[in-house]
């Protein structure tokens, strides 16, 4: 029972990260009908920004500012930097191809992913870097309910993740920007004729999606303690699975899909074998695609963004 609950908590934490990345995929897919393969690499860059901010404040063992402030700056800069990267990507790589055949932006996305991964390799080297989280956020300082342990990083990820999802939900459902996003998603040309600034809406969608990936990158650095230039590919792929299992284009689908994939992963590794985790996740994807190609929430509803 104890192992079960602990696995559940771990799964929810990982799932939250996947959900945050998956939201970006799904939002971009919603407005542009484009699979942004480079999204996982944006997440990787977020993790690197967090790392450098941490070292700018004196490194994990000798922080020159209070820990909450450092964390706040890490999240803020990663969100801002990744958001800007997303906007630049859209402006210079995807926008010129908006009316090209469907295959062109997909190949561009592959190229961008490759370019980002190798640029980071060139700039910062291929070795794994560590946030050394325990030295400034001790694992003992968390919630202890009986034998169950939710350490402070896990708690932070869950709370922050839920807050961001609620915020996104509010943004999409109750603001003018959200309304124009939904309009662009359902019909770009009609939205343009109705006076919606389509370019601005798409750019903002990219900004929000990439910013969330950046935050997820910092979170993963804090939780898993190691980052390298290749973490984006696999995380991106898993988040992809999450978005697809939930039904791509649907926001609640991405959230639930992310949690589902995280739980699958953590239960597989604690009850079966960590060796087969990835294979099982891929298997889930393929079976989902066969049984319900549009995902769990993918039915054509008004919830598309």
């Amino acid at each position: 029972m104890q192992v079960f609950v602990q696995t559940l908590v771990n799964g929810v934490t990982t799932g939250m990260l996947y959900a945050l990345i998956a939201l970006g995929y799904t939002m971009v897919y919603g407005v542009l009908k484009l699979l942004n393969f480079a999204h996982g690499d944006v997440y990787m860059i977020g993790a690197y920004i967090g790392y450098f901010v941490l070292h700018w404040f004196g490194g994990p063992t000798a922080l020159s500012a209070p820990v909450p402030l450092v964390l706040l700056v890490m999240f803020a800069l990663a969100a801002g930097g990744c958001g800007a990267l997303g906007v630049a990507m859209e402006r210079f790589a995807y926008r010129p191809l908006r009316d090209a055949p469907r295959i062109a932006p997909l190949i561009t996305a592959l190229g961008i992913s490759f370019l980002l991964e190798n640029t980071v390799l060139l700039l910062f080297g291929g070795f794994t870097r560590s946030y050394q989280t325990p030295s400034f956020l001790p694992f003992s300082s968390g919630l202890h309910i009986g034998a169950l342990r939710i350490d402070i990083v896990q708690g932070m990820i869950i709370v922050l993740g839920v807050l961001m999802m609620l915020g996104l939900r509010w943004l999409v459902n109750h603001t003018v920007l959200g309304k124009s996003m939904r309009a662009v998603a359902s019909d770009r040309e009609a939205a343009e004729m109705l006076g919606i600034d389509v370019n601005r809406t798409i750019a903002l969608t990219f900004f929000i999606g990439s910013a969330m990936a950046g935050v997820a990158g910092v979170m993963s650095g804090l939780a898993f303690n190691q980052i390298s230039n290749t973490i984006g590919f696999l995380a991106g792929l898993k988040a992809f699975t999450a978005a697809v299992v939930g039904g791509i284009g649907s926001l609640p689908g991405a959230m639930i899909g992310g949690l589902f994939i995280g739980l699958c992963e953590s239960f597989t590794s604690s009850y079966i074998s960590s060796q087969y985790t990835d294979l099982i996740v891929f298997g889930i994807l393929i079976v989902t695609m066969l049984v319900r190609p549009t995902g769990i929430f993918g039915a054509p509803t008004l919830q598309k963004v």
């Binding site: 062109a104 190229g111 490759f114 390799l121 087969y276 695609m289």
Partner: protein, 473 residues
């Protein structure tokens, strides 16, 4: 010019009339008048002559690799270029072919350390190809339920799953991370091909035969049906084209060609490792196809050769210099008109570099103390022009990021401003190249492949040899 629709003929007439003036037009006309088989014969003839001249084993290996990538790109072209199915799991078929060949030509299938299958190539390759075709049918059947992007995702996972499977499942037979090694050379009827030269001729023959087969396929009913499918599946099915069958066929054909390339690859390497079949290689194959021109057989072959030779050149400091400065000059030659601007631009860049270097060296001697990464005469030529500090790593990194921003700025600028911006950008590119990029050839190659994909899609989506798609309204 195979059978074109009347509409397409009309739409192209303007293009043709434009082309008829000048020496370029005459070359184009002459090229169009020659049929496909004399062109193929010419290319194969050149290949044979090359095989006779190339005595160096390294050169022969690069030639074989080029042809294998050409094969891979031709196979990918069936699914992506003709049927319009974005198959991101293609690498799995390549790996399937390689592992299949490896299993049949090593001790892997023997039990208790004895025996193994050791089938001759004439038996093992057809078995592997048929099996790969069957796997292609299965994946094609899965793909039927998916449209467009979903297909891309599922196939991407198939590619990933292949690597996971060969890494983790049954290490006794598949070798796990250590792969399979000690494979037999290609042997049949008592003849065994042991030299790179022999293998080169074999691969050349296969590429030539496959080019003929694929050309005939392309101009057949099936080929036209595939393109109809790519343009609009719904309209195609309304015209009674069996959409589902064609999709499965495209997958299966593409898988077979990929597996064929895999068997040759395994025979050439004498071993197979899971790392030979990762997403990086997939992107390399896409780069070959996209650069040459999606949908064109000649383009796929050219793309395979250009990318492989380019990759090889980048790993040697002397050749990499030729490639880099040659590409810059070529780009300027093609893009900058009139001629006097071109002269001004080159002279301006040289003077600009010398001036900046003079200023920097007056301020700090250690800032120009490093040696350029190029060797040979290019190295000695640029050593008094580029700025390479004593510790170039950080400087090179900053320069690289600046360079990307400068390139983006150049895309946005127009007219004289653009010309003015080009001068410092070329100089910065040269400095960055000499201090950072050339030192890490492996990473530089990957960055360039990424850039090829992005730039080709943005600037010339039809690739080097692909036909411009005619928009009919």
């Amino acid at each position: 010019m195979a059978r074109l629709g009347v509409d397409e003929w009309v739409a192209r007439s303007g293009e043709r009339r434009e082309r008829q003036s000048g020496w370029r037009g005459r070359i184009d006309q002459a090229r169009a008048r020659v049929g496909w088989w004399p062109r193929l014969a010419l290319v194969v003839g050149l290949g044979l002559v090359f095989g006779q001249i190339a005595a160096n084993v390294n050169v022969q290996t690069v030639a074989i690799n080029s042809l294998i990538y050409a094969l891979l790109a031709m196979g990918l072209n069936i699914a992506v270029g003709w049927a319009g199915l974005l198959d991101l799991g293609y690498i799995a078929f390549f790996g399937f072919g390689a592992y299949g060949y490896a299993l049949f030509s090593s001790n892997a299938l023997g039990s208790g350390g004895a025996g193994g299958a050791h089938l001759p190539a004439i038996e093992s390759i057809p078995i592997v190809l048929v099996a790969a075709g069957a796997v292609g049918v299965v994946i094609g059947l899965i793909a039927l339920r998916l449209s467009g992007d979903y297909l891309a995702i599922v196939t991407l996972f198939v590619g990933q799953a292949f690597v996971e499977v060969v890494n983790n499942i049954d290490p006794g037979t598949l070798g796990g991370v250590n792969g399979l090694y000690g494979l037999d050379p290609v042997h049949s009827f008592g003849v065994s091909i042991t030299t790179p030269k022999g293998l080169y001729y074999l691969v050349l023959a296969i590429v030539a035969i496959l080019a003929v087969v694929l050309h005939l396929l392309d101009t057949s009913r099936t080929g036209r049906a595939w393109r109809a499918l790519q343009d609009d599946p719904l309209a195609a099915s309304a015209m009674t084209i069996p959409v589902n069958k064609l999709k499965v066929m495209a997958f299966s054909f593409s898988a077979t060609v990929g597996a064929l390339a895999g068997t040759l690859f395994a025979a050439e390497q004498n071993n197979v490792f899971p790392t030979n079949f990762t997403a990086n290689i997939l992107i390399l194959i896409y780069a070959c196809l996209v650069l040459g021109g999606v949908g064109s057989i000649a383009g796929a072959i050219l793309g395979g050769i250009v990318v492989t030779v380019g990759e090889q050149m980048l790993s040697s400091p002397t050749d990499a210099g030729y490639l880099f400065y040659g590409l810059i000059l070529l780009t300027l030659l093609v893009r900058v008109r009139p001629w006097r601007y071109l002269g001004l631009l080159i002279a301006g860049t040289i003077v600009f570099g010398l001036a900046v270097r003079a200023i920097v060296s007056a301020v700090s001697a250690s800032a120009v103390a490093g040696a350029p990464g190029s060797s040979g005469w290019i190295g000695s030529l640029v050593s008094h022009w580029v700025i390479v500090p004593a510790h170039p790593a950080t400087y090179g990194n900053i320069l690289f990021v600046t360079l990307i921003c400068a390139l983006i700025a150049i895309i946005r600028l127009q007219g004289t401003r653009r010309l003015l911006a080009v001068v410092p950008t070329i100089f910065a590119a040269a400095c960055c190249w000499e201090s950072r990029l050339i030192v890490n050839p492996a990473i530089t190659t990957q960055i360039m492949i990424g850039a090829i994909l992005i730039l080709t899609m943005a600037a010339r989506p039809q690739g080097l040899l692909g036909a411009h798609r005619v928009e009919l309204l």
